[in-house]
Symmetry: C2
């Protein structure tokens, strides 16, 4: 296609690849890293979904195992997203890559992929310091590799982000970035030392490493709210650009989210392809050679797969619609998006339980409620992401999705559909216990059609509203909710200006 741009042309790379000095745009390497990190973040849901539960032995030990594994999953997810955020920061400083940096990045990725394992070791053996020791070793390795990347990039300044390579405070920048990169590993080094004689302190230090970015952000936010935005010292203004006030790269948030949605949507097919092809011998012996009957016994699994895929696919669709209207992702949006993704990662668990317990009707109710709750939390955090964007809408959103914008109502409807549907299904199971399965399946079938008809329904609703206002408008000359850009801007100005 003659009119098709190559991604490098399209991304505005000025043909650096052709100068022959081995410089490359980092775009594709970052996508690949995002894909790796998103897979690693969702890996730990597998031990949870594969926990075999038989009702007769559903005692406290199994409950404890399940709770432990869910905790491991959530912590791993948080941990990997912290590593991912650090990776974003690092490659906001390093603008271009060459072969050496690409190889160093691969080494960094390899170490990160090992983190979940050390973490699950730590949870399985809370009294043995080996897990925490290995964890600290990984974090220190990652820190050292990243420090080498920073050192290398500052040694060849053409690799740096243009704003830094043209800055007069380059040495100060290097100090600062090295400090950010090595802060966590230094804490982990102390934690590793403590793990040899008094490891509770190690856990404390480790928690500090993980929650530090969020805590400092929350503290800064509170301080700004209480004391008003303080004047940062003149020289450190540049620093803040790469530390606290910098919004996340929208492109990388999208790539990471896509990876999580894609792997979660296909997690169940991995199991189905492996476990649900019946053995020819079994078909002969148990089902009198009838393959259809044999497959019929797997029916709930297939239903669960299609249900899970549809839900994840539609949540991706909502995310996609939302981020079409997003200009830049703030930190709060990043955190809320991460929480939404963590619950999306829990969906296969919900559906696995739904399908596994379909044979035991007395467990059915509970598993359907768990599914509804997970869907509710995944979608409500998506909604919260949008709310966070609306709070700083001038910076974060395109005009059409702001208050009063043309797509605002549609966006609201899209984001509200799943929270409402799951809440409704949950409530119905309280009143109509007997029909809970039917209600759940009805929801699964109805929601995709609701999405298809959303625009139509919304138009009808707005027309109805306008009709109502028209009746009332006979007394008032100009309605405050006129649906055009002027009104949107006027309304936007009524809101407190984003700080």
């Amino acid at each position: 296609m003659a009119g098709l741009q190559t991604p490098d042309q399209a991304l505005g790379v000025q043909g650096d690849e052709d100068t022959g000095d081995g410089l490359q745009s980092s775009h594709r390497m970052l996508s690949f890293s995002d894909a790796l990190l998103s897979i690693i973040a969702t890996v730990m849901i597998l031990p949870v979904t594969h926990t075999k539960i038989y009702p007769e032995e559903f005692d406290t030990s199994i409950q404890k195992l399940l709770a432990t594994r869910i905790a491991v999953y959530l912590m791993t997810f948080l941990l990997v997203t912290v590593a991912w955020t650090a990776h974003i920061r690092l490659f906001q400083v390093v603008g271009k890559i060459d072969d050496t940096l690409a190889l160093l990045n691969l080494a960094c990725m390899m170490t990160i992929t090992f983190l979940p394992y050390t973490f699950s070791l730590m949870v399985a053996f809370p009294d043995v310091p080996l897990g925490i020791f290995l964890f600290c070793a990984c974090v220190i390795t990652i820190g050292l590799v990243q420090a080498v990347i920073v050192g290398y990039a500052f040694h060849y300044p053409h690799l740096l982000n243009q704003r830094i390579s043209h800055s007069a405070h380059k040495a100060a920048f290097r100090q600062h970035v090295l400090g950010v990169v090595l802060r966590g590993p230094a804490l982990c080094f102390v934690a590793a030392l403590f793990s040899l004689f008094f490891f509770p302190v190690s856990y404390l230090l480790m928690a500090t490493v993980i929650f530090l970015p969020y805590l400092s952000k929350a503290a800064g936010w509170c301080r700004d709210r209480i004391m008003g935005p303080g004047e940062p010292p003149a020289q450190s203004l540049d620093f803040f650009t790469f530390d606290l006030h910098e919004p996340l790269s929208k492109e990388r948030v999208e790539a990471f989210s896509d990876g999580v949605y894609a792997i979660v949507a296909t997690l169940l097919i991995l199991d189905i392809c492996e476990d649900n092809v019946p053995d020819p011998k079994d078909v002969e012996e148990q089902f009198q050679g009838s393959l259809v009957t044999a497959l019929g016994s797997f029916g709930p699994h297939f239903l669960a797969y299609f249900g899970s895929f549809a839900t994840v696919g539609l949540l991706w669709f909502v995310h996609h619609s939302l981020f079409l209207h997003v200009r830049r992702a703030t930190r709060a949006m990043g955190l809320l998006n991460t929480l939404a993704l963590a619950f999306v990662g829990g969906l296969p668990l919900a559906y696995q339980r739904t399908s596994a317990l379909a044979q035991q009707p007395h467990e059915e109710l509970e598993s359907i409620r768990v599914s509804c709750a997970i869907i509710f939390f995944a979608s409500i955090f998506q909604f919260a992401t949008w709310t966070a964007a609306l709070l700083r809408q001038r910076e974060a959103l395109r005009p059409s999705a702001r208050f009063g914008g043309r797509e605002h109502a549609l966006m609201f409807a899209k984001l509200a559909l799943y929270p409402c549907a799951s809440l409704l299904a949950f409530a119905s199971t309280c009143f109509l216990r007997r029909f809970s399965t039917a209600i759940f399946h009805l929801m699964q079938v109805a929601v995709p059609f609701a999405f298809l008809l959303l625009r139509l329904g919304l138009r009808l609703a707005l027309a109805g509203l306008r009709g109502l206002r028209g009746l009332r408008g006979l007394t008032r000359p100009a309605g405050p909710l006129r649906n055009d850009q002027g009104a949107a801007d006027a309304q936007a100005q009524l809101l407190p200006a984003p700080c």
Copy 2:
């Protein structure tokens, strides 16, 4: 970062998201589809790697099972790439999407993810027509959804690719695209009918569906070689743009490859996180409470993981370097790239065998040879992709990677490193059977360093060559291998012009 473009700006989308008519650039939806398809393509390696082999029962039935599963894997991979190619074609015609198209695309994806399962059913029960019946049902569903997409896009022509929406032959285009989309499903419908009474014909028809694009391409290529490029009739020139002569979208080839490399690199960590966390009870009973000893027994698994990750990561690195120099991907390059990816998908199998058989030294030799062979084929097909690009270098490559370009020699060295190393390791195991494991591990450790030092080594080699030529150059005034752009262009003109 103020200087960072959002992907939509960067991709040259003219702010259509803000007009409020629900039009969207299809960029992110295509990346998501690529991620899903690449995961599905590599899923079927899991049943292969999870086949438990104990040497005492390694009889013909296990061999047959393994061979069957490998065949299923390769066929599934081919099948998914055919579906992926069709998806590329379709969204070359449809340039923009709206909500309805995004939802239809999700439905299409959901059906495609089910194809591997029907295929493995077909192989497990070759005498039962149900598998082929389900397969045909899937293909027909996909075809119908795609036909709806085409119909919808032609009904709202602003969704179409600009060249088509401005064309005078729009109706003819629609006929043609619908024909392409429905050709396979129509064949499958006949196959489904035949499966009811004489199913060998169904298999034949199915094979036609899968291999049709490759066969027609090969036939066209042969015809062009033998008879010279024929004059296509004037009106069908436009058609050919979207059917035969159209190179694949480079961006989507990259996205699909990234997905395969990312999922393959992490396939082993999925197993490790799930299976290799020792049970606290076992540690107490079998290892006297020593976690280190317990982990020591998993040592080979960890080594296998790091080895596999490093190999896949470096093969990705080579692929990344190669595609930096690629302008457009031709069909031949697409096919060779697919074959390379299929072998990359086999890498976890090789490493799983290496780690599983580490305890049985007499099987070691064989599994190391299998590993070397898989690495060799994966890397030699990457090399072949480059060769195919060089054959049509004006169209397919940037100047620096063409014959005589500045990066040509480095690219050659990068692509040749893995084929040479694996071939060397394979040959050494023939002479030094006793040290085969050591040789294999040496290769794994040496190759990453070789990549780091490649540029340096190449410079030394070129300097040596130049020195030699300098000695000979005293008799000849101008060497034919001068390493600058003029020479490169001059040399390029000596080659047959790309047809």
